[in-house]
Amino acid sequence: MEKLKVGLVLSGGGAKGAYQVGVVKALSELGAQVDAISGASIGALNGAILASSPSLAEGAQRLEEVWLKLAQSSPLVVKMPKYFNLLAIAGLNIQGLRYLDQIFKFITNSRGKKLPNWLSQWAGVSEALSSGALSHDPLHQLMDKYLNADALISGLPLYISVYRSHGALSDIFSCVMAEIGIKNTEKSEFLHIQSLAKEEMKSALLASAAIPLLFAPQQVNNQIYSDGGQGGWEKMQGNTPITPLLKAGYKMIIVTHLCDGSMWSRHDFPDATILEIRPTQQSISRGGEISDLLGFDSSKIPSWIEQGYTDTHQCLEKIIKATQARHELRTSEKAVIDSEKAFISLDRQMENAMRRLV
């Protein structure tokens, strides 16, 4: 029988990505096999560590190590000079806030275009927004330490979702519009990491996790990309990137979610066998969505890891029991049929023996 190819989808969700550490750990313990990974945002970063690891168990161990380190020291460092500059501009031109409406209108009408010169007084704002409030340096350092590019190239196929950015404010605005149901965001694009040039791999991973306004978008293949979780907002097409795995022929997909009540729907993919791991027993949110998104602290990360581990076990327990029950049913059914075959010869022998008595 042909072996089934199993794909793992790691959704985006900022600091809640710690949940995926528990998921991967539990999957490894249960003997699951993963042949390819697809991730968005923090899921892409987790996926990169996992894909470059020699085994799922080793990957789980490395992820736990990274995340426990993140619990000790947050990777979110504010770029102080630029941020102060932004605040100074905003403060000095407080009356200029009335122009903010015009800026948004401009953004929505001319996506991808640079700000005109008449907004030069907002040049500082534009620069500050486009480069992000937070520094990529801590993430770079973590990636340098824990991510081996060569191992990633020869590792499991890794797909990440990225969102073609139209500027931070525009991207945020699109998400808000999608959230209130007016207009969905554009679909995210998917990059096969191993197909990229070695020097672009880290940029692509950072792009997938580049939350608008917080992190600067990244240039990959001459395109500016930001957080892949923004695409296809209504159905979380970008945040839960199953599509590249399905296109690559993976029929059995394990999907991990990082938010409560994710609107991603398994019913949109009727041909695949999808196993969703959703936060079950308790809400994954600890202090509100935004707070949790950036909540890289020691009070939350271990509990998310634990929750991911527990939820995966509980989720899989149902499948395992059900599959085991069917397996036993079929095995016992076959055993009944086989045992009956054994009696055919005995029946004949008994018949012959009894005939001799007559």
């Binding site: 096999q33 609107m263 398994r266 019913h267 196993l275 959703r278 069917r326 009944v336």
Partner: protein
């Protein structure tokens, strides 16, 4: 037959044998619960307005409904398969029952056969025992007959060889008959008197015939020729001491004889001065032989 093995690491096996409907069925419960819990925890007014406006509420409800519908469909499929499986098991049970019924019938047949065989064996055993008893009796009878014949020949050969020449013919006759009476011939004769009188009669007739033959030789007469009693009673013993011993022995051996019912034996053994009234003074060998056989073998 080996016991049914149940694989524990089913998740590993699931990689090879995934059943979409099972995964959808079991996992759909978690999905529906996640949406239901989210609905319950986000029921504030503004949130409801926003979710209603954005269409999320409807989409979420649709997801719940679809998961539940999938679950019901999965349950139906599972139930159908289970019903088929139970039906198969039931048919298998029917076959087992049929087989048990056949075995039961065969066991009953075997039990009857066994009982009949035992009865036949018992009857055969009885027959065999009876037959063996008969054969045993027959062999015993043949043995006794043979021994009686050997004894008969032996005593008459002894007489014919002259071993009893010291005695009178009638004493020879008495000694010969007494030896036969207490030996195998007498045993056979007595047993045949009880079971087969004809044979006993024949034996005694033969005995009388042999006596007649011997007596006629002794007296040089014919069987029916009557001669004087002294012809039969004359002794030839020369030694007085031997004669005395023999006389005492004969007296002792024949002390059962009475003059009237056993005149010949009484005369032969007790040697009375006055002969019994019923003793013929002249008689043939035939008369002597028959009288002596009758008196000795028919005594009480």
């Amino acid at each position: 037959m080996p016991p049914v093995e149940i694989k524990n690491d089913v998740f590993r096996a699931m990689n090879f044998l995934p059943e979409k409907f099972v995964v959808d069925f079991a996992n759909g419960i978690d999905v529906a619960r996640d949406h239901i819990r989210f609905q319950r925890e986000n029921d504030k007014f503004l949130m409801r307005i926003l979710n209603g406006f954005s269409g999320k509420s409807a989409r979420r409800q649709n997801e719940i409904n679809q998961s539940l519908a999938d679950g019901v469909e999965g349950a139906l499929k599972w139930l159908t398969e289970l019903a088929h499986s139970v039906a198969k098991t039931n048919y298998a049970l029917v076959k087992v029952n049929e087989r048990v019924a056949v075995i039961q019938k065969n066991v009953i047949d075997l039990a009857h056969y066994s009982a009949e065989t035992r009865q036949k064996l018992e009857a055969l055993s009885v027959q065999l025992h009876s037959r063996i008893d008969q054969l045993s009796h027959e062999i015993n009878r043949i043995d006794i007959t043979q021994k009686a014949k050997i004894q008969l020949d032996h005593v008459f050969d002894k007489w014919g060889a002259g071993r009893l020449n010291h005695f009178s013919p009638i004493t020879k006759c008495y000694i010969t008959l007494e030896e036969l009476y207490w030996g195998n011939f007498g045993d056979l004769c007595r047993s045949q008197i009880e079971n087969n009188q004809t044979l006993a009669q024949t034996m005694l007739e033969n005995l009388a015939n042999r006596l007649i033959q011997q007596l006629t030789k002794e007296a040089d007469t014919t069987a029916q020729q009557r001669v004087g009693l002294s012809t039969w009673t004359n002794q030839h013993i020369t030694s007085e001491q031997i004669a005395t011993d023999w006389i005492e022995a004969l007296n002792y051996a024949g002390d059962w004889a009475e003059p009237d019912p056993h005149p010949f034996v009484f005369t032969t053994t007790q040697m009375p001065n006055q002969l019994p009234v019923f003793l013929p003074r002249i008689c043939s060998a035939e008369r002597v032989a028959e009288a002596m056989v009758s008196e000795i073998f028919e005594r009480n």
